[in-house]
Amino acid sequence: MSAAVLDKAQHSTWSAAEMRGLVVSEFRKTLATSAWWALLIPGVVLAVGVLALRAREEYVAFSVASASAWASLFAVLFGAVCASAEYRHNTIATSYLSAANRPKLVAAKMTCAAVVGAIYGVVCAAAAVATVPLTGTAYGNEWPWILAVSAGAAVVFALWAVLGVGLGTLLRSQVGTVVCALLYVLLIEPIIGTVFSISGWDRVSDYLPDRSATLSLHGLTGGEQFGGQFGVATPWWLMLLVAAGYAAVFIVAGIAAAQRRDIA
C-alpha cells in the first residue's frame, strides 16, 4: 500500500533532462541496429506497389492515401520490434536499471518510435507520390490534397509506431508481436468488418483500428469530392482521434504490464 503511494510520488517527478537522456538512449539503440531500415524498405516497396496498382483508376491523392495506409503496417512492426527487442536480446534488465522507473523508459521508447514512425510516413508517402509519373498519371491540381495526405501519413505512422511499442511491451515476443499485427490487419479486422457490414453496421467497422487509420487518410483527400464515391462520411480528424485512442490504449496497457512484471 505505502509502496504504491511512494512509487507514485516518485513517478510524478519527471525532469526534462532525464527524459532527454532516455530518448537519446532510445535513438542510439535504434540507430545501432538494422531494424529501422530493414522495416522501412518493405514499407516503401508496399507503398510503391499499391500506388502502381491503383493510380490509373483513382484520384492521385486517394491512391497515395491507400498506399500510405497499407505501408503503415510497417510502422506498427517497427514499434513492436523496438520494444520486444529488449526482451529478445535480454537487454531489458540493463535498460530498466538505467532508467529511474519503467514508465519513463516506455515513454522514451514511445517518443523515439513516434519520430521514426513519422519519418516512415513521410518517406512512404513520398515514395508513393514519386511513383505517380511512372504510372503515366499526372498530378493535376491535386497537390494540396497530396500534401495533406502526406502530412496525415506522418501522424498515422507515428501513432501506429506508438501502438507497436505498446503491443511489443505487452507481448514481449518479437515473432509473436509481428505475427499478431499481421494476422490482425490481414485477417481479423477484414473478418470483423465483413461481419459488421453483413449485420448492416458499416459505420461501426469504421471505428476499427486499421480502418480508422485508412479512413483518416482517405478523408484528407478532400473528403467532399470523394465522399459519395468512396463512402468516406466520418471526418478525417475524428478517425485520427480514434486511431490515437487505440495507440493510447496499447501504450497504457504496455506500461501497466511493464510495471507489474518481474524481470527474473
Binding site: 500500500m1 505505502s2 509502496a3 533532462a17 538512449s25 545501432a32 536480446h89 535480454n90 518481474d262
Partner: protein
C-alpha cells in the same frame, strides 16, 4: 552523514524516506514467491560499505532473486530491500548509485561495445566520454569497435562490468561474476573488487562456490532454500570444526556398532570397508577398537575445509538453522533512518 538529495514524503506513514548516502544494502524480511515456488523466505541481512561481501548459496538458493529484488527488477511478495535507505525505484538516479552485473547475455549482439555503452551513458545521464573510460578500466579499449556477438564469455563479463561502472556507482552488485572468467580474469576481478571496496564503496558479489570468492571477501552471507543460514566473517563460519577420521579395520560393521555404543553416532560406512567418523580423535577410536579386539589397518584424520563447512550449511541444514551466530545482528540495521 549528510542527508540531502531528494526527499519523498509518504503520506500514509507520515514519514520521509531520504537517500541516506550510507552505501548500505539492507534486506529486511524479504520474501518472494513465484507461483508455487518460494524462492526467498523472510530473508534479512545488511551489506556494509568499505567491504566486499560474498553472497553464497547453492544454485537455486535464491541468490539471483534476492539481488534482483534489491535492484527493483523483482517485486517482493513481502518485506523490502533498500539501497542507501531507499527502494531502487525511489532513487532518482539509480545507475549512479548502484551498478549491477547480472548476466553475460544482456547484450544486443550486433551492436559494438562502444555503441552499447553510449546507449546506457545517455540513459544514465553521464557524458559519452565515460564509455571510453570504462572500456579502458576493464581492458577492452581495443575491442571498442567490435561487435559484441564476437566477444568471448570473459569479454562479455568485462563489458557487463564496464556497463555497471558507467554511472560511477557507490555500490556494486555482481551475480556470479566468476563464471566464464579464466584464472587471469578472475585474479583481475578480485583485485578490482578489493580496490573498489578499499575506497569506501560497497561490493556485494554472489557465488555458488566459496573457494571462488574466499580470497576476495571480508564477510559472507550464506543462504539456503531462500533463508539466511549464516552472516559473518569466514573465521566465524560455524565449525563444526570437528575433525573427520577415516578408518580401515578388520570388522567395519562391528567397529561402527561398538563406536555407537560409546555415544559416537556420526559414522558413515563406505562400501569399500572404510568408515568415516566425525568428531572423535584417532586416539579415541583406537582405544575403542582395541577394547573390542578389532584390528585397525589404517587411519587418516582431516580438518574440514571451508568448502565443506559451506556445503554443510547449504545442503544439510534447513531453515531451523537461521539463527546462526553472526558478527552483526541484522536487526540492528538502520532502523533509525525510517
Amino acid at each position: 552523514m549528510t542527508i540531502v538529495a531528494q526527499q519523498i514524503t509518504d503520506p500514509v506513514r507520515k514519514i520521509a524516506s531520504v537517500d541516506d548516502h550510507s552505501g548500505q544494502i539492507v534486506v529486511r524480511n524479504l520474501s518472494k514467491r513465484f507461483r508455487s515456488v518460494e524462492a526467498v523466505r523472510d530473508l534479512s541481512f545488511t551489506v556494509e560499505p568499505g567491504q566486499v561481501t560474498g553472497f553464497l548459496g547453492a544454485n537455486g538458493a535464491g541468490k539471483s532473486t534476492t539481488l534482483r529484488a534489491v535492484l527493483g527488477l523483482i517485486r517482493p511478495s513481502g518485506g523490502e530491500a533498500t539501497v542507501n535507505g531507499l527502494r531502487y525505484s525511489q532513487l532518482s538516479h539509480p545507475a549512479r548509485v548502484v551498478g549491477a552485473v547480472l548476466d553475460t547475455n544482456g547484450f544486443h549482439r550486433s551492436r559494438k561495445a562502444r555503441a552499447h555503452l553510449r546507449i546506457y551513458a545517455a540513459a544514465i545521464g553521464v557524458p559519452d566520454s565515460r564509455a571510453g573510460e570504462v572500456l579502458a578500466l576493464v581492458g577492452l579499449t581495443d575491442a571498442a569497435n567490435r561487435k559484441i556477438g564476437g566477444f568471448s564469455l570473459g569479454m562479455r563479463q568485462r563489458l557487463a562490468l564496464a556497463t555497471a561502472l558507467l554511472g560511477d556507482p557507490r555500490i556494486l552488485i555482481l551475480d556470479e561474476p566468476g563464471s566464464g572468467l579464466d584464472p587471469e580474469g578472475l585474479a583481475w576481478l578480485r583485485g578490482f573488487l578489493r580496490s573498489f571496496a578499499a575506497t569506501g564503496r560497497t561490493v556485494l558479489v554472489s557465488s555458488h562456490q566459496l573457494a571462488e570468492i574466499a580470497q576476495t571477501v571480508d564477510r559472507i552471507i550464506i543462504i539456503s532454500q531462500g533463508t539466511r543460514v549464516f552472516q559473518g566473517t569466514l573465521e566465524e563460519l560455524p565449525g563444526d570444526n570437528r575433525e573427520r577420521v577415516r578408518v580401515l579395520s578388520s570388522e567395519p560393521a562391528r567397529l561402527a556398532s561398538t563406536l555407537s555404543k560409546h555415544d559416537i553416532a556420526d559414522i558413515d560406512a563406505l562400501p569399500d570397508g572404510w568408515l568415516t567418523v566425525v568428531g572423535v580423535s584417532p586416539a579415541e577410536i583406537g582405544r575403542v577398537a582395541l577394547a573390542a579386539g578389532i584390528a585397525i589397518y589404517s587411519m587418516t584424520s582431516e580438518q574440514p575445509d571451508l568448502e565443506q563447512q559451506f556445503l554443510r550449511l547449504t545442503v544439510s541444514q534447513y531453515p531451523a538453522q537461521a539463527g546462526q551466530p553472526s558478527a552483526r545482528p541484522v536487526t540492528e540495521a538502520k532502523e533509525g533512518v525510517r
